[in-house]
């Protein structure tokens, strides 16, 4: 009995000290990644509504396909449907966690497939408040992590972690992620720019579970605190397991995507 008590006394502090905030942060990110592994492939239609600070709106529509790639970033194909002048314009991206993505752009009027420099991860996606890096697949290696605290967002228990982009061309110094304790999906992400000033907040709403496992937000709202602009990204017709293979994500796929 005494030995056990002694053991507990000795063990307890070492248990507490064993995990640093960095380790706890990484553990949460790893668990989120584990729960979101194995989805295979996905397709969806999306509508993006851009709001400027005068309340004017403009709309984008596109359809997307993505393929899960184990041990690397995912492959994705985005095809624009609206506005009409960009209809048929398509992006093919091979995401990588720390090295630059491979990215090709298809210009339908010229029938031209153009390899583009992918250091534009921080650039705005189609004039919206989303940057390319906000929309690309979230790999563990993309960030280092730090657990901050437990908190509540709209009555739900969350784990707050701070993460630091490892990619040198990222537009952010750091991000605060409010991870839902049950879903292990973010409810809110606060972005700080390279100068560490408050930049944007992303709200993720209307989560729905697919295949009894994978949670996907139905609405993502990005608010830019520096410009007063915001963008709503609305996901529709999300469908998993479409039988896509890497052959559906080749350069030639851009030309036949409509």
């Amino acid at each position: 009995m005494r030995n056990i008590l002694l053991g507990l006394v000795l063990l307890a502090p070492s248990y507490i000290w064993a995990q640093t905030p960095e380790e706890r942060g990484l553990e949460i990110a790893t668990e989120a990644d584990r729960r979101d592994t194995g989805w295979g492939d996905q397709k969806s239609d999306t509508r993006m509504v851009l709001h400027n600070r005068h309340g004017q709106k403009s709309e984008r529509k596109m359809h997307n396909r993505s393929l899960e790639v184990v041990n690397d970033g995912d492959k994705s194909l985005i095809v624009f449907d609206y506005p009409r002048d960009v209809k048929g314009t398509a992006f093919l991206t091979y995401t990588h966690s720390t090295k630059p993505d491979d990215q090709w752009l298809y210009l339908p009027a010229l029938k031209r497939v153009k390899r583009i420099s992918s250091n534009n991860k921080s650039g705005p996606f189609m004039g919206s408040e989303f940057a390319y890096e906000d929309l690309s697949s979230q790999e563990i290696d993309k960030y280092t992590y730090k657990f901050i605290k437990e908190d509540k967002v709209e009555g739900r228990d969350v784990l707050v972690i701070e993460r630091f982009p490892q990619y040198e061309h990222s537009g952010y110094k750091r991000q605060m992620v409010y991870m839902d304790k049950q879903m292990y999906q973010p409810l809110k992400v606060v972005f700080y720019d390279r100068k560490n000033a408050l930049y944007k907040t992303l709200f993720l709403k209307k989560y729905h579970q697919y295949l009894n496992q994978y949670w996907r937000a139905g609405v993502m709202q990005m608010v830019n605190h520096q410009t007063g602009k915001s963008t709503d990204l609305i996901w529709k017709k999300i469908k998993f397991r479409n039988g896509f293979t890497s052959k559906d994500f080749r350069k030639n796929s851009l030309k036949r995507a409509r």
Binding site: N52, P83, R84, S117, G123, N252, R256, R258
Partner: protein, 395 residues
């Protein structure tokens, strides 16, 4: 004609369970203002032009088959040669997994450079449309495409040749004397019915994208021969040679830099020449933490034929800057200049575009030619600096 009847029949026979079928297209109103008085009778200081290009697309069999039809018509106020009709696309597509078949009238783009497209030889240039040589005429073709992990292979059979379009006597930006395409001559005995062939292999390895191609058939760029037409007027007659052309295009992505090379070697029965374009494109993303991107482009253009080349680019330097605003209107401005290092002839181009409403886009284009020499073939456009506005309505 039989070819197209067969195609339409094919398309109709296959119209089981049509999955997607849609109309789209564009109508564009263009206005050109010339800075100087015209040099030739019949030319004018301004011009209004309307173009219409509807598109019909239908697909079936799980998108494994499709048909695209896109006619194009332009009505030009001043130049009856610029008023023209073309079928840009009438293309039947069939996917057999790794194999693909395209048959009908279509368009294909090859290459990586910005200033000119040396290796891009499948389609004829619709030159009355734009001086940037990027508008193309529909090309009759049968194209087999094989896509493998080791690269893409494309085979083309091209039945029927399209003549390059040229401005008529009343059009600005023309040669002197003007080019009379109706008197075109050919090296081939089959004239414009010569069947051309092409093959291309392309692949991506890591940061490299490259393509190797070979073409045998009628040259897309004619030699221009001085002559007198039926009514005794001096004209230039296009002569289309037969040629073998091998092309190479390579692009390397390295951080913010794109490095580019396009090279061709061509052989006709009386000549042998090479040409290349090489340069870079550098993109500065988010200038001073803004959402603005600045792209800087520089290319060197060389042709072994020198002044005898039927293109103006034999020893030229192109410099360009592209400003992308990344705003909701997708505003972009491109400024470019091409300098002939020998003659010092120079051209300046400004292209800008922005979306006015969800359906209307405004394009602005300006060109200025400077230092044109008296003995130069471009001396005839010395007064043709222009500013052009185009409103495009998307259906």
């Amino acid at each position: 004609m039989k070819f197209f009847t067969a195609l339409i029949t094919l398309a109709c026979l296959a119209n089981t369970s049509i999955e997607a079928s849609e109309w789209s297209g564009e109508v564009a109103l263009e206005s050109q203002l010339f800075n100087h008085a015209p040099l030739f009778p019949g030319q004018s200081t301004n011009n209004v032009s309307l173009s219409i290009s509807p598109e019909y697309y239908t697909s079936w069999d799980n998108d494994k088959r499709s048909l695209t039809i896109r006619p194009f018509i332009r009505l030009d106020q001043q130049d009856n040669k610029r008023s023209h009709f073309d079928i840009r696309e009438f293309l039947f597509y069939r996917n057999y997994g790794e194999w693909e078949l395209k048959a009908g009238i279509g368009k294909v783009f090859w290459g990586v450079a910005e200033s000119q497209h040396l290796v891009d030889i499948i389609n004829q240039t619709d030159m009355v449309e734009s001086l940037d040589l990027e508008e193309k005429l529909g090309q009759p073709m049968i194209n087999f495409s094989l896509e493998k992990d080791w690269g893409n292979t494309d085979l083309f059979i091209l039945p029927g040749f399209r003549k390059r379009t040229f401005p008529g006597p009343g059009g600005r930006l023309r040669t002197n004397p003007y080019i009379d395409g109706s008197l075109s001559q050919y090296a081939s005995g089959r004239k414009n019915r010569h069947i051309d062939y092409a093959i291309r292999y392309s692949h991506t390895i890591d940061n490299w994208d490259f393509g190797i191609s070979h073409f045998y058939g009628t040259s897309r760029i004619p030699d221009l021969i001085p002559a007198i037409n039926g009514s005794g007027t001096p004209v230039l007659i296009p002569f289309y040679n037969l040629l073998h052309q091998t092309g190479l295009d390579v692009q390397l992505v390295s951080g913010d830099w794109l490095w580019k090379l396009e090279a061709i070697h061509s052989k006709t029965n009386n000549s042998n020449y090479s040409a290349y374009t090489t340069g870079f494109e550098y993109t500065w993303v988010g200038i001073r933490e803004s959402s603005l991107d600045l792209g800087l482009i520089s290319e060197y253009l060389y042709d072994t034929r020198g002044d005898k080349a039927p293109t103006p680019f034999q020893n030229d330097i192109m410099l360009g800057a592209r400003l992308v605003f990344n705003d909701a209107q997708s505003t972009e401005i491109l400024f470019g200049t091409i300098l002939d290092t020998g003659s010092r002839e120079r051209s300046f181009t400004l292209e800008a575009s922005t979306r006015l409403t969800d359906n209307i886009k405004l394009n602005i284009e300006a060109r200025v030619f400077s230092n044109l020499r008296k003995n130069s073939p471009f001396y005839s456009i010395r007064n043709d600096d222009y500013l052009q506005f185009e409103l495009v309505y998307y259906i």
